[in-house]
Amino acid sequence: MKKISWFIFSLMTVLLILSACNSDEETEGDSEEENDDVVTLTFWNRYPELRGGFEDLIEQFEAEHPGIKIEKQEVPEPETQLRTALSEGDLPDMWTNIVELAELMEVDAVKNLDEIFTDDVKDQFQEGTWFENGTTADGSVYGFPLASPRSKAMIMYYNKDVFDMLGLTEDDIPASWEEFKELGQRIIDESSGAVYPIVWNNPGWANEQLVSMMGTAITPEVPWQENYKEGVPQVLSEGKVESAKFLKDLLDEGLMAPQSVEIGLGEAEATFSVGQSAFLWSGDWVGRQLFVESEFENWGVAPLPTKDGNPYYFHAGSEATSIRVDNETEHEEEVKTFLEYSLEHLHEVVYVNTGAGLPAKKEVGGEPPFEQYNDIMELENELAIPVPKPAEFNPEVVEFNKAYRNKLEVGGIGDVVVGYITGNINDLEAEIEKIDQDMKDAFLETLDEFPEVSQDDYIYPNWEPLAPYTIDKYDELR
């Protein structure tokens, strides 16, 4: 028994000494900082593809502004983390957008940036950058725009090493599902199973986006979760169901790498770049990920295959990628200095120079690190198409949307699609229909509670799917 106590006490002593040593170091570090009178701004980034770009930007900024230090943190669970910080009243000074603007406005958590974004400055940004409940609220700016609204559509990356190895050329890139399966079988046969045609990933949001985009080639009137012809929420569409079935077919027929159902985007990129798959479906940011994270540059881009090779599209301005500022920040001046600096340099350093996506600002300089950047930009301009945004037509729908979505058990069909692909759900249509019906019920029920909002706010007779819906078209309807 003496031995035990001896053991406990020596263990504790060792641990305490260890921690004492370490904390000494830390306090020293802290006091140094304080002596220099440096203001530290905290900044939470949730976009992995912007990680490197932000580091460059911050380094350059700090060199020019020695009095300000920016502490950037990568946030893997951004929503959970921001909400917790919000409930503790302890937000970072700046963060990349997460949690809907309307909700942040309600608790007065986000700072008005009108001082920086004058009308002149706003004009320097792409059309569609400024929209309600995204970058603006009641016309005032509440977000520093990062990516172009006309981006984030999914495209198909192909591995040129694999193409060369199998003697394929650009003409072999499949446009339809049938062609994709045929080529896929050829790839399997010719590589004797070493290369999978496609590697996919399992997050719910990615699956919902993919089936929605592929689905627009079949049912173009449902770009996302609404039907702007009938003015109701809609997630059950032939296009989405068929697209999900296509994905499952690929998996069942061995054309999709089997690990696709358990991996995230990063692992899929890694699989693609080591030549274990010929194709990869993902967004515009992946170019940078392949080039930098996987150090792989021999790839090209093409549109996704669709059922009959028909064109597909994605609703532009799907999310307001932007920097938000804490309304309670103690360093208002320093934040402003940083944002003003960013206005000049961010889009060039973080987007163009890294190839991490398309910037929201027009006429940005910089040198893309890989040649495919321009191909991606062209594709995105074609595929990310503005659709009606009811909040632009009637700002009251922001509150309305929030109220009706609060009544839902699930926010989308992503998890159902994943469940279907993994074999956990058999009757896909029935499951989607359930969500569809819940959405419609909640929508109509909430309409009765909001006299300022009517179903007409969701009906756009002058909208043609695939044709950009521009600002003047709202006026036509008024």
């Binding site: 669970e77 929503e79 959970t80 909400r83 917790t84 919000l86 409930s87 608790v107 399992n202 719910g204 089997p258 690990q259 159902v261 358990e262 979505r405 609060n406 839902l408 058990e409 699930v410 926010g411 989308g412 998890d415 159902v416 994943v418 469940g419 993994t422 074999g423 956990n424 759900i425």
Partner: protein, 329 residues
């Protein structure tokens, strides 16, 4: 001293009384820290979790949206909630049968006086107990991945011709959770059983041997019956620790695919802290209501198995239940 000798009796009596009073005062002082801590960090949260459960609340802003039993109503009609209860029950039963049963076999083998290297084996099989479950979950996620070690071994020896989706097939995923949970807990159950086995007096074995009883009949007629009271304790401990599967499930499958492996505690976490895996929004009140139901569930399980145990043991195992089930969670 001399005074004491003169009228010792009454004097020492009063002295004893003051001493007793003084001691009683010290006893209260000694109890104060624990009582304060208990009321602030245990009693208050218990009460508040009941209070929250009657509100619709995002955790931000005031508690002002009273919904009565609305959260409970929604929970009891939610297939996702019932599924999580079912997964929890599978996990609890699975880890108890595998973990406690396997541990008994191992303990009987290792209790053999003549077996060499007992300490070594004990250490090996106990090792997973000291490791951090959350990290074990991450490692196991790699080992049981589609391209993970297990599938590669099985493919290499031609047992299978296609990798098995251990973690994305709902059936296999629950099995894997149970296997890893049992692996993790087997060591501690083994030590419990060994403690029980060592409390059986050696004379009983000797007399059994004199009666000509073999290994199996000794086991059946002497060892197992005498282990019964211990068994109740061990089973209850295992059941209750199975209710807290959070660490493993969160890191191994995170409840996927499509919530098929979501346990009750993960359900609560998802609704309270993660709007994406919850219903698209943070609902602290709803999650609290699920917490209250989980508490009742724990209570019922403990009552059923607690009743099977008896005497002083109830006190002890209850104690452990609170430690593991209460404080940790």
């Amino acid at each position: 001293m001399s005074k004491n000798n003169i009228n010792g009796k009454s004097d020492s009596n009063t002295k004893l009384k003051t001493l007793k009073k003084k001691k009683a005062m010290w006893a209260y002082i000694f109890l104060v820290p624990q009582i304060i801590v208990f009321f602030v960090f245990s009693a208050y949260p218990i009460v508040m979790s009941y209070v929250y459960s009657f509100y619709e609340w995002t955790g931000i802003g005031p508690l002002d949206d009273f919904v009565g039993l609305g959260n409970y109503q929604q929970l009891l009609t939610s297939p996702r909630f019932w599924n999580s209860a079912l997964v929890s029950i599978y996990y609890i039963l699975g880890t108890t049968i595998l973990g406690v049963g396997g541990a008994l076999i191992l303990a009987i083998i290792l209790n053999d006086q003549k077996l060499n290297g007992k300490g070594f084996y004990r250490a090996i099989y106990f090792l997973p107990v000291v490791t951090t479950t959350a990290i074990v979950g991450i490692i196991m996620g790699n080992i049981f991945g589609i391209n993970g070690f297990v599938n590669q071994i099985l493919l290499n020896v031609n047992l299978i011709d296609k990798p098995i989706p251990w973690l994305t097939d709902p059936f296999f995923a629950v099995i894997i959770l149970i296997v890893i949970g049992s692996w993790k807990g087997l060591g501690i159950n083994m030590v419990y059983w060994l403690a029980g086995l060592q409390s059986i007096p050696n004379e009983l074995y000797e007399s059994a041997q004199l009666d000509g009883a073999g290994f199996w009949s000794t086991l059946r007629h002497v060892t197992l019956p005498l282990l019964k009271p211990m068994a109740a304790v061990i089973i209850l401990l295992s059941l209750v620790s199975g209710i807290n599967a959070f660490d493993l499930v969160k890191t191994l499958t995170n409840g996927g695919p499509n919530f098929a492996t979501e346990t009750m505690d993960l359900f609560i976490y998802n609704f309270a802290f993660s709007s994406q895996l919850g219903g698209g929004q943070v609902r602290m009140g709803y999650a609290s209501a699920a917490g209250v139901l989980l508490g009742l569930f724990t209570f019922v399980i403990s009552m059923i198995f607690g009743a099977a145990s008896f005497g002083k043991q109830i006190t002890n195992l209850r104690g452990n239940k609170r430690r593991k089930g209460g404080v940790k969670v």
